[in-house]
């Protein structure tokens, strides 16, 4: 989980995880040179079909995050308790969008 919040850079033991994390960061990062390099690294490591699927996942979550944030939907009740500890330990509850209605 530390890979997801950017504290660890090794891909978390997931094959080519470091390449995919770098790509995800570049997609939402705003640096075109970095994105070009990250895209090429995904193609080199995993191929073009994998690049397309990584693009699809990254783009959908870039959108669905905005649906959640702009409509104020709460985390599903059945997921609250099982995820409470790691959300707290990773600092996710401190995200602005997690601090409630404000």
């Amino acid at each position: 989980m530390n890979v997801i919040i950017g504290e660890v850079r090794d891909g978390g033991g997931i094959p080519q995880g470091d390449v995919l994390v770098a790509f995800a960061e570049a997609v939402v990062g705003g640096d075109e040179d970095r994105l070009t390099a990250a895209r090429a690294a995904v193609v080199d490591a995993l191929g073009t079909d994998a690049l397309v699927d990584a693009c699809a996942v990254a783009s959908m979550f870039n959108a669905i995050d905005r649906v959640a944030d702009s409509t104020g939907v709460p985390i599903d009740e059945d997921r609250l308790a099982p995820t409470a500890d790691f959300r707290e330990s990773l600092g996710i509850t401190a995200f602005p969008s997690g601090r409630g209605g404000g």
Binding site: I14, A24, A56, N62, I64, R66, S70
Partner: protein, 245 residues
């Protein structure tokens, strides 16, 4: 059908992605439930204008985005209340506040219009981010179609724990039970005040990410990247976006 393809890509793009993006463009170009097609396409164009907005950049860099006043750099086709929703949702979604949403309603945007705006914005963000990520030019926006909004609010939508009213898990009826009922997650219900937007957006989600059956099946790889790799990409994007959901 709005024309959208990836024939210009230097690699093969999955056919179902091109189809769902074409469907999304077609939905965007059609009269909505509360907004006409001209407004919907103008909202999509406004999404693209946000990257050049000086006010949005200043707000993004500020300790609080609500302490920075100014005027958005806009394409000029939309009223100010819609422009502000589009720009804030695109540029700084993690710091949207319930009070800001309430102010939107007090400023004349109805809750139904707000939800439809969010649906159009986020659908555009998905298609545009895909092209950007893949290194392709943004797809040409579709031409708006004539016609009037249907203006039908689902009678079973009511205020729940979200900011916006929705069709709650226990209030879903008929075909909407699998979509908004108990099996579904809250984010699937988020746009359910305007069911056409909710359905269209979640259909896109099933092609980009996984459908419900695929999500519960951890033993099969449905994509060219593994489930662990999918969740890694999804989680890292959401963490950078500081999305607590």
């Amino acid at each position: 059908m709005a024309e959208l393809n990836y024939d210009d890509a230097p690699f093969a793009v999955r056919g179902d992605l091109a189809v769902v993006h074409g469907d999304t463009w077609d939905r965007l170009a059609s009269p909505g439930t509360w907004l006409d097609a001209e407004t919907r396409v103008a909202i999509a164009a406004e999404v693209r204008a946000v990257k050049d907005c000086v006010l949005c950049r200043a707000r993004k860099e500020a300790l609080s985005p609500y302490g920075v006043d100014g005027v958005h750099d806009t394409s000029g086709a939309l009223p100010d209340n819609i422009v502000d929703v589009v720009h804030r949702v695109v540029s700084d979604p993690a710091r949207l506040m319930k009070k800001w949403y309430d102010d939107c309603l007090a400023g004349g945007t109805t809750e139904e219009e707000y939800v439809e705006i969010i649906g159009v914005v986020c659908s555009t963000v998905a298609v545009d981010t895909f092209a950007h990520a893949a290194g392709l030019p943004l797809r040409k926006l579709p031409a708006p179609k004539p016609g009037a909004p249907s203006r039908q609010r689902p009678p079973n939508a009511k205020q729940g724990p979200a900011w916006v009213p929705w069709i709650g898990a226990d209030d879903a009826e008929g075909d909407d039970i699998p979509r908004f009922g108990p099996p579904g997650s809250n984010v699937r219900r988020a746009l359910s005040l305007v069911p056409a937007e909710a359905h269209g957006f979640m259909e896109m989600n099933e092609i980009h990410y996984l459908n419900g059956v695929q999500m519960r099946d951890f033993s099969t790889d449905y994509r060219a990247i593994t489930r662990a790799q999918i969740e890694l990409v999804a989680g890292r994007v959401s963490a950078i976006n500081q999305c607590a959901y």
